[in-house]
């Protein structure tokens, strides 16, 4: 190994500096906003920390929130690797959870739980599969179709909650008039881990293992290699024997399946009190996508990122006491996302601008200029 050269170190320091500055800017802007809306920012920060990790039993809840975000993010990474942009996780989470609820409320016991989780997985895959079908059959851009399918998913799962033979709870003594599914039987729920006074469902360690598995598969397996070739140069992929349509559609479907799995895990892990409710996905799909974005598609970087995003979710529950709007957290989250995305983007642009490769500069490059002047 030769010593890294000074320019590389300088660039590294510069990027780090940019991160510090942009996060500082995001936090001060957030503080400013909080001040304007009438709360002292220290109290708000303190409430956020109390709600997410400091108060007894809170970090377990945050972990429970982080698991689905992580699973969704892992799915997003898989399709992005293959060069397909799936942004419809919000809908895939909902469909997965709804299908899981349908299966889970038909029976009871661990086998039903497994079947329900499988149903969630398949549901997400099918929902993303529609986009994959449109993409490869009719050339519909998957960015648009996955996004629009989110709204169809909301309507479709909403419809399931209007009929008792589908999802609607048929119990005459149900607590309120909100249309929800029946509650999962206690034998059909995901078990809970108790640790230092905190508790979270088993889906948390499973999600952690999934992240490691996805990282290994993408970076070390033949499948991951071929997926990468496909994403970066589909024509080369086709030539070396990666079937563009099949592999691409599979990646998109797996990506949806992960979101569906996240939905099933939420349902059986206790979200909405083990019931499928309207608005069940509750932005987990969107935020999972952001986790992948901020982690820049690196599975293991998603671990801390998902935890931070989950902290904002659980912490915001404690804001009511400070008198600050809960939705301020959305603004803070957006500012943070921007802050984390700006430095790498700027660095990439600078790298390209600083020095074009010398060979290219010396060769017959400026033909463009010639064309322009002639």
């Amino acid at each position: 190994m030769r010593a890294p050269d000074a320019a590389v170190i300088r660039r590294g320091l510069k990027v780090t500096g940019m991160y510090v500055v942009s996060i500082a800017v995001a936090l001060s802007l957030s503080a400013g906003l909080i001040a304007i809306t009438g709360g002292p920012w220290r109290k708000v920060l303190s409430a956020l920390l109390d709600g997410s990790i400091r108060n007894p039993g809170r970090w377990g809840g945050t972990l429970a929130e982080a698991a689905p975000l992580l699973i969704v993010a892992l799915g997003a990474i898989i399709s992005t690797r293959a060069g397909l942009v799936n942004i419809g996780q919000e809908g895939q989470v909902a469909v997965g959870a709804a299908l899981a609820a349908f299966v889970a409320t038909r029976g009871s016991g661990p086998l039903v739980l497994v079947a329900a989780i499988a149903a969630g997985f398949i549901g997400g895959a099918l929902w993303a599969g529609i986009a994959a079908l449109l993409r490869f059959w009719r050339n519909v851009p998957e960015v648009i179709s996955t996004l629009l399918l989110v709204f169809i998913a909301a309507q479709a799962t909403g419809y399931l909650l209007t009929r008792t033979f589908l999802l609607l709870d048929s119990d005459p003594n149900k607590p309120n008039r909100v249309q929800t599914s029946a509650q999962l039987d206690s034998a059909t729920r995901i078990g809970r881990v108790r640790l230092f006074g905190n508790e979270f469902p088993w889906s948390v360690p499973v999600a952690l293992l999934l992240a490691i598995a996805v990282a290994l598969l993408l970076h070390r397996s033949v499948w991951g290699f071929r997926l990468t070739v496909l994403g970066r140069n589909p024509r080369t992929a086709q030539r070396i024997g990666v079937p563009v349509v099949v592999a691409g559609a599979a990646a998109l479907a797996i990506s949806g399946a992960m979101a569906g799995l996240a939905g099933a895990a939420m349902l059986a892990g206790g979200t909405a009190n083990y019931r499928y409710t309207p608005g069940f996905a509750n932005s987990v799909g969107w935020e999972g996508l952001l986790v992948a974005l901020v982690a820049r598609n690196r599975p293991l970087v998603c671990l801390p990122t998902a935890f931070i995003f989950a902290s904002l979710r659980t912490g915001s529950g404690f804001l009511a006491a400070t008198g600050v709007e809960r939705s301020i957290v959305d603004v803070v989250r957006a500012l943070l996302v921007l802050a984390l995305l700006v430095p790498p983007a700027v660095a990439a642009v600078q790298r390209r601008r600083v020095s074009p490769p010398p060979a290219a500069a010396a060769a017959e490059e400026p033909t463009v200029i010639m064309g322009a002047t002639a």
């Binding site: 140069n233 086709q238 030539r239 010396a362």
Partner: protein, 535 residues
């Protein structure tokens, strides 16, 4: 033109231009005399184009001065250059396809546009130089040769004292090149203009110029009268070492020049391939439509083991589709592909590669590699599965194999873990070559394998292709460089509008005959269809 023979039309004095650490031009001196064609010869990246861009005002030198007609001048921009009487015919033609010929010629004029006057001027200029052209045709409908004629008319109409031509024959058929050189002679002899002819083709320089300046790595390494030069001496000066003329000068030469002229006429030293060798690749009646146009039209050809079949043709006549077909990238509408006796379905991912077809693609960035994956990954991109266990890649294995290949094929410039895109063009091409040859193919398709490479790399590639054929691989060479085809092929097929319009054995092929076929000016009356019938 008022200048006497004593005053050069242009004198560049110790011009230096740097791009970062690279010195594109290093204290270059150059004199262009009126009434003279001055060749500027050099490999890719030798600094020829940069020098010309300085002359035309596109690039400002860091050092040195320019004298136009004896007066020191700063050429700020192309407009200044035009006012000084410097005109250029660009390598990449800069015409607007949807405009007519006369509109293109007057494009960029500052005067008021008058259709009638403009058309008359165009016709007059064209007639004056014997450049026959219809001023009302749309440029988009014209062949590359006619387009260049338009460029030339555009340049000459402005009555320049100095005419610069940058690689003018790269898009021309031999006949068109010959015509161009005749016009240039005329321009120089009758009107005492100064012409700079930039080229990396030895034969062209020998044939068409009065003086020659040879550049290497930004420096002028030699300046001499062309009459005193030979192909061998020019090649040596250009490359800086002895090169095999058969491998390099031929690949660099212009087809317009009879081969005898530069001593390249010796017949291919390899004995011709016996007809009893098995047919490895056979394409039968291939048919492909694109937007209602037949891009492959009843195309049939065969390649035997150990044989190099050259596919000649003007660019855009089905060569790209032929390469794509053998890269499993397109599905035929009709016809079939047979490899070593087995029919292979076209357009199925990897079907051709699995049946033993290796491809050096025309554009390696398009279907040959992944720029932001590592050199090692690119070297073994089609066979990672062979370097894996239980579906997981054995990185150490990959590294060792890649390092072996890099040593064997002399791939330099970066380690195995460097991004492929950081390699130079020549080394990138070597990576592709190394991968394709090491896949132990039955058929090797080489599409424009030496395009954009310098002479050393061309020499290397040529030798490798020959060696591949000698080892029994059936080689299909698709190239628009006639010399390359003539130099390497045992058999030549000529492609036009997606059809094979002629087949020649190497012994029957002369540049003239091929040129006529290419230009669509002759039908093959040769008894050349026999191999067709045999297949």
């Amino acid at each position: 033109m008022g200048a006497t023979a004593a005053t050069p039309a242009v004198r560049l004095s110790s011009i230096t231009k740097r791009y970062g650490p690279v010195v594109a031009c290093d204290a270059v001196d150059l004199e262009l005399l009126p009434g003279e064609i001055h060749g500027i010869l050099g490999e890719n990246g030798a600094g020829k184009s940069t020098l010309m861009k300085i002359l035309i005002g596109l690039v400002q030198p860091d050092n040195g001065s320019a004298f136009v007609a004896g007066r020191e001048t700063v050429i700020h921009d192309p407009q200044t250059a035009a006012d000084l009487g410097i005109g250029m015919v660009h390598q990449h033609l800069s015409l607007v396809g949807s405009l007519t010929v006369w509109e293109n010629v007057v494009l960029g004029d500052h005067r008021r546009l008058d259709r009638r006057t403009a058309r008359r001027q165009v016709t007059e200029t064209a007639e004056h130089y014997g450049l026959d052209i219809d001023p009302d045709r749309h440029v988009g409908e014209l062949s590359a040769g006619l387009r260049q004629r338009v460029e030339l008319i555009k340049c000459l109409r402005r009555d320049p004292a100095i005419v610069i031509l940058d690689e003018p024959t790269s898009v021309l058929t031999p006949a068109e090149s010959e015509q161009l050189f005749r016009t240039l002679r005329d321009v120089v002899a009758r009107e005492q203009r100064a012409v700079a002819l930039v080229s990396h083709k030895l034969a062209e320089i020998l044939h068409a110029t009065d003086k020659v300046t040879i550049m290497r790595q930004g420096r002028v390494v030699d300046q001499r009268t062309t009459a005193d030069a030979t192909a061998a001496s020019l090649a040596r000066a250009m490359v800086g070492r002895e090169v095999s003329l058969r491998a390099s000068a031929t690949a660099l030469g212009a087809a317009a020049v009879p081969r005898e002229a530069d001593g390249n006429a010796e017949p291919a030293s390899r004995p011709s391939v016996a007809d009893d060798r098995p047919v490895m690749l056979s394409i039968d009646h291939a048919q492909l439509q694109r937007h209602g146009v037949a891009v492959l039209d009843d195309l049939s050809l065969t390649v035997r083991a150990g044989e190099i079949v050259g596919v000649a043709g003007v660019e855009g006549n089905g060569q790209r589709e032929l390469g794509d077909l053998l890269s499993s990238l397109i599905e035929l509408d009709g016809g079939s592909v047979t490899l070593d006796g087995q029919r292979v379905r076209s357009g199925r991912a990897g079907s051709m590669a699995r049946s033993g077809v290796a491809v050096i693609p025309e554009d390696r960035h398009d279907s040959g590699c992944v720029l932001d994956m590592s050199v090692a990954d690119n070297l073994l991109i089609d066979r990672v599965a062979a370097h894996s266990r239980f579906g997981f890649i054995n990185r150490g294995h990959i590294r060792r194999t890649a390092e072996q290949l890099m040593a064997e094929f002399e791939i330099q410039g970066a380690g195995y873990s460097a991004p492929f895109g950081s390699l130079s063009g020549g080394n990138q091409q070597r990576v592709v070559l190394a991968r394709e040859l090491s896949s132990q193919p039955k058929v090797l398709v080489a599409a424009q394998p030496t395009r954009g490479l310098d002479v050393g790399a061309i020499e290397y590639m040529t030798a490798r292709l020959r060696a591949a054929a000698e080892s029994g691989i059936a080689v299909l060479l698709i190239s628009t460089e006639l010399e390359e085809i003539l130099d390497l092929s045992d058999r030549i097929v000529v492609l036009s509008r997606g059809r094979v319009i002629g087949q020649l054995n190497r012994a029957d092929a002369t540049p003239e005959r091929l040129g006529l076929l290419l230009g669509g000016m002759a039908t093959p009356d040769e008894p050349t269809e026999e191999s067709h019938a045999r297949a």
